[in-house]
Symmetry: C2
Subunit: 328 residues, 2 copies
């Protein structure tokens, strides 16, 4: 295993230490492994809390800041945070307007966030993101997995909360974004979980996995390596089959799984954009880069979000986080 | 070779196509493989042109935009662009105030930028970046190689040009930044150049290379794999030995080589920051992420820049590029 780490058991704690030092505008609770906005709780604003297993960076800690999340709980690598962390995060961002939990659909995360919501006195609403069209149930999930749409949702809903919209409206918006987002991913190589010390799965030199999850969960099928053009088809086709994307402007997100360089991701974006144009889909905004990763897995995913004027304006609104930053 | 590409010969052209589609605010000259600011030339502003071999993304094309570069020429992977590209870029950004060429110190790049400067009527100044303390001469370089400081320089000098500073002042500033920046890198794995189809060098499972260049050029030495803490020492020590960083605020940049995930880069930043504190170096600003990469190489580099009030203010100034974006 070749990694820039000290001890597999201390990776998360030590990465959080580096993050705190690199981003003094954030406040890191090292005991509870929570990344907070430096000014949390923001009086009168709906607080947004997310979190999940580590290994998907910049998600979620890198999306904390004005215009996006108020706090993110970091679990061990690919392991849900515990309810105590979510309780501390929820209380820490409670500015009197309630708190939204943004939960990717994995059994552990859903259960622990539910438990936390019951343990706090704060008014909590929850959105469960389940946008992955690849498989119905899978290794850690009943129903569809939560993947790339989470990034777009945290940005859009973060902007709405920043505007001062009330909890019910923010929660409805979050569900709307989830309803309108679809993703499909693929892997060229496995990731290696530090504590395991070896690749999660074997993938021969001449094969790739289509429909992979972000923890190395199996996808739809293994196929021979193919050119980027064909890979783009294998990702775009199931997304377009699942929802109509032709009648509204679309946000198109080509995500890197961690080890695929930007050169390849831009090349993939070109292939995806060409397919969308052919299908009559109008791309209004795009995002290209490694935003919801799977440690050192090579591969990519495609997320499409059926937007509208409100969603596009919220997407364009200022955001200031380590992972996404523009405007203001 | 597992890559998201179609044909090894068309990688650069196809990545530029994707970049143009993803960033309509830029203008891509596909024939000459130049990424331009959409509004170039900017009347009365010094134009900044950089470029080099592809495979280091987001550098340089991802650093084109207000507050940074006016144009970037893309060569084939790890191969200098040709003088014709640099001529077209220089003419395309000439707003009447002259043009600065920002050149990483590799023999081909230096020669071709020199030739281009002689071929244009535009007033051209040149800065050659040579900040890598690892080795004196190397595979593609007489003298030190140009690496991480290039990112910081393009940001800082870009802000100065945006303010309307004249060419001589902008060029002096660029040389000052280069004089005050030092870098050292390491690799856990080799990169694979698409046209070669196999790793550039062999690195056994239990070894790493210290002092590596961004094209897989040999470094100082091969050593057994070590914990991040010791890797940080092997990078920070030679940088601190080369220049005094204790008497001024420092910008600290921990760069990913392409395949090392952000989780590991933040962990490395924590180690680097701890060493700097012990050495009496005051970090005023930081940057953590893959900004000057080497295709799919796993590893990282550390760059320190001895700043001052002017450099910090220019660092903080607004920038709007695909790769670096904040403020405004």
């Amino acid at each position: 295993m070749k990694k820039l780490i000290n001890d597999p058991d201390s990776v998360v704690a030590e990465a959080l230490r580096g993050m705190a030092l690199a981003h003094p505008e954030l406040r890191v609770d090292h005991e509870n492994r929570i990344v907070f906005r430096g000014d949390a709780p923001v009086r009168g604003k709906v607080g947004l809390v997310s979190g999940g297993g580590s290994g998907h960076e910049p998600m979620h800690g890198g999306f904390v800041g004005p215009g996006m999340l108020d706090a993110a709980c970091a679990g061990e690598v690919f392991t849900s945070p515990v309810p105590d962390q979510m309780v501390a995060a929820t209380q820490g961002v409670d500015g009197g307007a309630g708190v939204l939990h943004i939960v990717k659909n994995y059994t552990g995360d859903v259960m622990n966030f539910e438990m936390a919501a019951e343990l706090v006195e704060t008014e909590v609403a929850t959105v469960v993101v389940d946008d992955d069209v690849a498989v119905q149930d899978s290794l850690y999930t009943a129903g569809r997995r939560g993947v790339g749409t989470t990034v777009l949702l945290e940005k859009i809903v973060g902007a709405a909360a920043e505007q001062g919209r009330p909890l019910a409206e923010v929660a409805d918006l979050a569900r709307k974004v989830n309803d309108r987002g679809r993703s499909m991913g693929m892997a060229l190589t496995s990731c290696t979980v530090p504590a395991a010390g070896q690749p999660t799965f074997d993938l021969p030199e001449d094969e790739m996995e289509i429909g992979i999850g972000i923890h190395g969960e199996p996808g739809r099928r293994r196929v021979p390596l193919a050119p980027a053009r064909e890979i783009a088809e294998m990702l775009v086709e199931p997304v377009l089959s699942d929802l109509d994307f032709t009648s509204a402007p679309v946000i198109c997100f080509v995500n890197g799984m961690g080890a695929s360089p930007l050169l390849e991701l831009y090349l993939m974006y070109g292939e995806v954009a060409a397919l969308l144009e052919k299908a009559g889909v109008r791309v209004a905004r795009s995002l290209v880069g490694p935003y919801i990763t799977s440690l050192d897995m090579a591969g990519c995913s495609v997320t499409l979000l059926r937007a509208d004027d409100d969603l596009l304006a919220l997407w364009d609104a200022p955001v200031r986080t380590p992972g996404l930053r523009w405007g203001a």
